[in-house]
């Protein structure tokens, strides 16, 4: 089964970085979804994404102190942490949810995170 990752991106940073992802191995199995800000990312949205069969959810937004909306990234960080706790408590690998902070030029960083996450998922979902 293909392990798909939903990549939720802040439109101010990560979405632009995601647009420049190169190489088929990065584009394959990745669904990119735009958000106005990762501060919009709700815990339940992450869980519902997993419910739909996605192996992982990667939320990518601006660096904490450079969020266009001041506290969106820091709110997202806390919610992702909470989601991981919930998953852990439910016996589901917390590695299935992850957050990255990057700016629009950080495609390489995003690529690295995706690769790493794919590997981790490989490890915990087999």
């Amino acid at each position: 089964m293909e392990k798909k990752i939903a990549l939720y991106c802040c439109e101010n940073s990560a979405y632009k970085a995601a647009a420049c992802l190169t190489g088929p191995e990065l584009q394959k199995g990745i669904e990119i979804i735009k958000l106005p800000c990762t501060g919009k990312m709700e815990i339940n949205l992450i869980l519902k994404t997993l419910e739909q069969g996605y192996a992982g959810v990667l939320v990518a937004g601006c660096p904490i102190d450079n969020c266009k909306y001041i506290r969106g990234s820091s709110r997202a960080e806390k919610r992702i942490e909470k989601t991981r706790e919930l998953l852990k408590a439910a016996g589901i690998p917390e590695q299935r949810v992850r957050m990255e902070f990057l700016s629009s030029v950080d495609s390489h960083k995003l690529a690295g995170a995706i690769k790493e996450m794919k590997q981790e998922l490989e490890g915990v979902m087999s």
Binding site: E11, Y15, L21, P36, K40, C67, K68, Y69, A76
Partner: protein, 534 residues
């Protein structure tokens, strides 16, 4: 929105986009019957002026009221959609950009007239997803908010005066509020003050409250003659730098020694020292609690120059990073160094301890790479490097955030230099840490420009895409009001529910993410729409 009124534009410009065969393949796969897409437009050079004209005709002819634009990478597509929305007078939410992700080497593949299936697949899915998004959303209303034709400038120092002057020249009614009793206290010359003719000036006054949002603020100003109410379309905070009120006393108390003096009175203090046979050691310290800018560097270099000149002292200049990127500053820096001033660049914190006579400065010397002690008979410290003793009350009144240094607006790359977290409130000068006068003037002009840009449209046309509160679900837990970074949420006392201001809302969705009753949604970004993209 119904499918008939949605148009799909695929750009086939000469950028690194899709090849002809690929576009054919895409249009084929987006067959009318299946997806209901009726209006397919293939354009070359989507962003060209001529294209826009023909596009307008086509859109009118086909009765298209919303668009999916597939083209360019994500970095550019938002700019393109904005431009097209503007040209066609479409509401922002009725145009959706679908970036066509390309891979490296796309150029050469295109020339081969081949088909990159993965790319085609992506485009097809992107466009279908866009259809789902547009069909699942209702067209949003446009709200017209008259812009109050008045600007309010808080602070009558250099930044405030330049801002008010510029606004005056733009022809906007401007109210200037200054704490001190006279504007001339700042050493602004008569001529400049004369330029302010027409500006309503309240000296000895302060802002007491500020409500409302972009385009329509209402301010209460405490003046010697009593409270004055003003409506204003925009506000500029030009309060001074958050330095200690009495730097001399502050430094003396903080370091328990009269050998620590404010940099601007270093020369006087130095000349007051009794002569001794050996050389005096004089220190100058920048960046004490926060990194400082060019103004401080300039002041420090001048002071060093003046004291080193008689050659009666050994001068040490401690700084974390020399900011000399300006006319003459670089030369001055070199000249000072050539005179024999020891420049110590340090990292981390500078520790200052009081000795029996003089002070000891302990810093991690970047050049030597070790922790080093320097004893000084006198230490001139830049007050601009000192942490603010208390937060600027304007932060509490206006809701504009302070950064870790107590300055307005941290160095957030997402915000234009003079923007703040509250739309319609701008900031310039010392309050945001800039005290170098050419730069202050620049900022003042930029802030005035932003205000002008806002006021020149007598009416704001705002799409009602702000956060929507479902009054049946809202239990007024206040979470959104406490969380909103833009002060856009407030209590509607009549209905007993939270309410969002169309003008202040920045559509970030943080409130929707927090609401424990799920009473808040962001129209263009409902869960349904987001999940539809999967």
């Amino acid at each position: 929105m119904n499918r008939e009124s949605i148009g799909v534009i695929i750009c086939s410009c000469s950028g690194r986009n899709l090849g002809k065969q690929e576009i054919d393949s895409i249009t084929q796969r987006l067959s009318f019957a299946e997806s209901g897409i009726r209006n397919m437009i293939i354009e070359t050079a989507l962003c060209g002026e001529d294209t826009l004209k023909s596009l307008r005709n086509e859109v009118e002819k086909k009765g298209i009221s919303s668009l999916i634009i597939a083209g360019c990478g994500a970095a550019r597509i938002s700019g393109v959609t904005e431009k097209i929305a503007d040209a066609l007078s479409f509401a922002p939410s009725s145009i959706l950009g679908v970036p066509l992700f390309y891979s490296e080497g796309a150029e050469s593949e295109k020339n081969k007239l081949g088909i990159n299936e993965a790319r085609v697949d992506k485009a097809v899915r992107g466009i279908s997803r866009g259809m789902n998004v547009l069909t699942s959303q209702e067209p949003l209303e446009i709200e017209e908010i008259p812009v109050v034709q008045r600007a309010l400038v808080i602070g009558g120092g250099a930044a405030g005066i330049y801002t008010a002057d510029a606004l005056n020249r733009f022809g906007h009614e401007t109210v200037l509020v200054e704490k001190k009793d006279s504007l001339s206290d700042y050493g602004i010359d008569e001529k400049k003050l004369k330029d302010l003719e027409g500006v309503i000036i309240h000296t000895g006054s302060s802002l007491v409250s500020l409500e409302g949002s972009k385009g329509n603020f209402s301010a209460c100003v405490k003046t010697p003659g009593g409270l004055e109410e003003y409506q204003a379309g925009a506000v500029v905070i030009a309060s001074g730098a958050p330095v200690p009120a009495d730097p001399k006393k502050y430094l003396q108390n903080r370091f328990g020694s009269s050998s620590a003096v404010p940099l601007f009175s270093l020369a006087t203090a130095y000349s007051g020292l009794p002569r001794i046979p050996s050389l005096r050691r004089i220190g100058i310290l920048l960046d004490l609690d926060r990194d400082e800018g060019r103004a401080s560097t300039q002041m420090a270099l001048h002071a060093a120059q003046e004291i080193q000149k008689p050659n009666a002292a050994e001068v040490f200049l401690f700084l974390r990073d020399a900011r000399v990127g300006s006319l003459h500053l670089e030369e001055l820096y070199d000249a000072v160094r050539d005179m024999g001033v020891t420049i110590v660049k340090y990292s981390g914190e500078a520790k200052i301890s009081s000795l029996e006579t003089g002070l000891q400065v302990t810093v991690q010397d970047d050049g030597l790479g070790v922790l080093t002690d320097y004893t000084c008979d006198l230490l001139g410290i830049s007050p601009f490097g000192c942490a603010a003793e208390e937060d600027d009350p304007l932060s509490e009144i206006t809701g504009v955030h302070l950064d870790d240094y107590g300055q307005f607006q941290d160095n957030n790359i997402q915000l234009m230099p003079v923007e703040t977290n509250i739309p319609g409130i701008f900031t310039a000068g010392g309050g945001r840490g800039e005290v170098y006068s050419p730069k202050v003037k620049q900022e003042a002009l930029a802030a005035a420009g932003e205000v002008h840009f806002l006021l020149k449209n007598k009416t704001l046309h705002l799409e009602r895409s702000e956060a929507q509160v479902d009054p049946d679900k809202c239990i007024l837990c206040l979470t959104c009001i406490r969380c909103c970074p833009h002060g856009a949420m407030h209590v509607n006392r009549e209905d007993g529910v939270a309410e969002c201001s169309t003008a202040a809302c920045q559509r970030c969705g943080i409130c929707a993410g927090e609401c424990p009753a799920k009473a808040i949604s962001l129209p263009v970004w409902t869960d349904e729409i987001v999940l539809n993209q999967l």
